[in-house]
């Protein structure tokens, strides 16, 4: 439901944390290590993740309803038994230590985290959260990553002529397409893709394209599996592409427009360089530069951007795990997923900050002043 906001963040600067004061104090004791810029921002990223995770720990427990109640309601709805029967059954099938206070749980969880242990699921006792993540994560990375990459490449290709032929018919059509397609949320695109080509035109068997690959294939580097995986990912990837392509087109267009007016382009043209050389070496490269940063930052939001699409196409990835954990209030699974999402966002921001200076020498990294 909630829109991915990554596209309004185009360039970025090093990260700091609200615990900067603490870090400053640490500097007196660890001056040598701290003086290293990379180590410092990395440390700050870790602290940001810790702060978000602590907040998350509190937030998930503040959510109305708890795992026991949710399961009771589910059983009541599905089986039509009395409240007391449902309660008895559910209370026994969870093994939550009722004596542990929330503070105990917090320290327990933090301690486990240090040992890289995410704990076990509450609603499926005995199932390790790390196993759940390992089951679902690769498919989201594959589908959303592919969608992001394709839309980025297509966006760059389509965005440049829009700027070059500003005001032409091509520009008008592409502008309309890009602003319209981003104005429709991805889950509506997904439903329409199922309803129009799927049900009305019967272009494909809807059920056969569900899941991540065909039953009976062995995951690995064999042609049958790869083809099957691509086939199953096609619809979600297409949905992601159509829903975010417009953003890249518009960004690339405005970026190119800016570059076209830079002095060095005019100089290059005046020097009589071939138009193709100017487009490739001067305009294209420089216009795409800020978009690479934008791409790097989007990667952090990739994992959570397809929640509803994954449900609609029954292409279960980390978005499904997130959705499911929230629905049944599975605190431990939810914390595991959120940790993953937070780390992805923080580290992709960090990566963007570290690489931006390298990509664009004009921007000095302020931390190095």
């Amino acid at each position: 439901m909630l829109q991915d906001q990554s596209h309004i963040d185009s360039t970025s600067q090093p990260m700091e944390t609200s615990a900067a004061g603490l870090v400053d104090r640490l500097t007196t004791s660890l001056p040598k290590i701290y003086r290293s810029y990379t180590v410092r921002v990395f440390l700050q990223a870790i602290i940001t993740i810790w702060a978000v995770m602590s907040l998350t720990f509190v937030l998930v427990r503040l959510m109305p309803g708890n795992p026991v109640d949710v399961l009771i309601e589910q059983i009541l709805t599905a089986e039509g038994i009395s409240y007391q029967e449902a309660y008895d059954r559910v209370a026994a099938s969870f093994n939550i230590d009722k004596d542990a206070t929330e503070l105990d749980q917090y320290f327990q969880w933090m301690g486990d985290l240090l040992r890289l242990d995410l704990g076990t699921s509450i609603t499926s006792p005995g199932t390790k959260v790390i196993d759940e993540i390992a089951r679902f994560l690769p498919w989201t990375v594959f589908a959303v990553g592919t969608g992001l990459l394709i839309s980025f490449v297509l966006g760059i290709i389509a965005g440049m002529p829009m700027a070059y032929y500003r005001g032409s018919k091509l520009d008008h059509i592409l502008s309309f397409f890009s602003s319209f397609s981003t104005g429709v949320p991805n889950y509506i695109w997904g439903l329409l893709i199922i309803i129009v080509p799927g049900i009305a035109w019967r272009w494909f068997d809807i059920g056969a394209l569900r899941g991540t690959y065909d039953v009976g294939l062995t995951p690995g580097l064999n042609a049958a599996f790869i083809l099957s995986a691509l086939e199953h990912a096609a619809l979600p990837v297409f949905t992601y592409v159509i829903a975010i392509l417009g953003t890249w087109m518009l960004s690339m267009k405005s970026s190119t427009t800016g570059v076209l007016n830079e002095d060095y382009v005019n100089v290059a043209e005046a020097r009589g360089l071939k138009e193709r050389t100017v487009i490739r070496s001067y305009v294209g490269r420089n216009a795409a530069l800020p978009l690479f940063t934008q791409l790097t930052i989007s990667i952090g939001f990739v994992l959570s951007s397809g929640v509803v699409v994954e449900e609609i196409f029954v292409y279960w990835g980390i978005g499904h795990l997130l959705f499911q954990s929230i629905t049944v209030r599975d605190y431990t699974s939810l914390q595991g997923v959120v940790l993953l999402l937070t780390a992805a966002i923080v580290f992709s921001n960090l990566f963007a900050d570290l690489t931006y200076g390298l990509l664009d020498p004009r921007v000095r990294v302020s931390g190095e002043k």
């Binding site: 600067q13 702060a51 104005g183 007016n261």
Partner: protein, 411 residues
Amino acid sequence: MASSQMLEWLVSLPLDLLRGLVGFLRRLSANKPGFVGFLGLVAYFIVTFIMPNYVEFDNEPKLDQITGPIGSRIQLAVHRDNPHLDSWEALAGKTVGVVRQTGGPSFIEPYQDQFTVETYRWTSRRQGPGIPAALTDLANKEIDALLIFSKTVNQVIVNQEDEELQALFQDNIIISNPSLGPPHLLGTDTQGRDIASHMVHGGQILILTALIGGVIATLIALFFGSLSALAGGFIDKFFTALANLFLAIPQFILLVVLAGMIRFDSTLYLGVIIGLLIWPALLRAIRAQVLSLRERDFVEAARSLGLSVNHIIFREILPNMSSYVLINLIFSITIAMYFQIGLVVLGLAPISDYTWGVMIYFGRSRGTLYNQDGATMALAPVLAIALFQVCLVLFARAIEEIFDPRLRSAG
């Protein structure tokens, strides 16, 4: 900053604004797509802010018009022997049947004293005849005409399980006038209510909230973003850290928690909360822009000339950033619109404000997308929001060309 400079700036500001506005309108009319976008926005304003005063919100469930197709309208069924009964005038003095809780009664009201009205109670098939009873009376000439919705007639006549009744209806009844009563431009929703009237009423709050949210986010980002970039040091560290923290907090979970604690009924509050949730990404972007512009030649030149900070911000940096800020404002507005659907799902926004967001949510959850006749309930508002974004982008493009000094010179 020096007070004399401040004074000078305050005096020149209104004049500059006025001059800018005149020039802006002149340039706008020269920019075709921008002008189209401008007209589109004006149309949106008229439909969502002025038309609600003239179009009534259809809140009356009409059981036999549920998920009516686009352009659906009330129909007049008459006996085969009376094909001439095809207009309100011809019905004068006759007995006309209407089925309560359907579209009939409201259409018939203005003409009520011209003919006798026979009312039938609507009942479900399981509980006994409602519409079949009315049709039987019509077939037996106990009433002269029956106002009824076409889809229902078809369903009852064609799918009638009782073959005797089916024969009676098919032999005796014709659907006479296909154009009686106002059409439902966009069809009807799951309660048989006119979707077009909901579209007219559902835009105002959504757009206002989104504007408030988008503007607040942009203002926060603009103010603190430029402040961070220009002031540097602790202030910079603090705001970037805050933005980074906000970006990483799982917003959906935060909203779920908020929904359990607070309830928002005011447009203003809703807008504010949306603005407070979507500013961080924008802040990062604007800060980076200011940082980058700060190093540019013309800013360096202005600095070396000893021009004031005031001058540098308002005359050098802001104009060079305005197009960028504008396009991000537009994205923020669209994000804020869809954000509201998320708030509806969570119960943070009341459904009594029947906005486009509520329509999309209910349209989807009540399965209308799977029904050709009913799909407008969710698709009409989606289309409206998407086209609104198109208008904004086209309009913003024009503004971009007018304000961006580099584009202006490129002409």
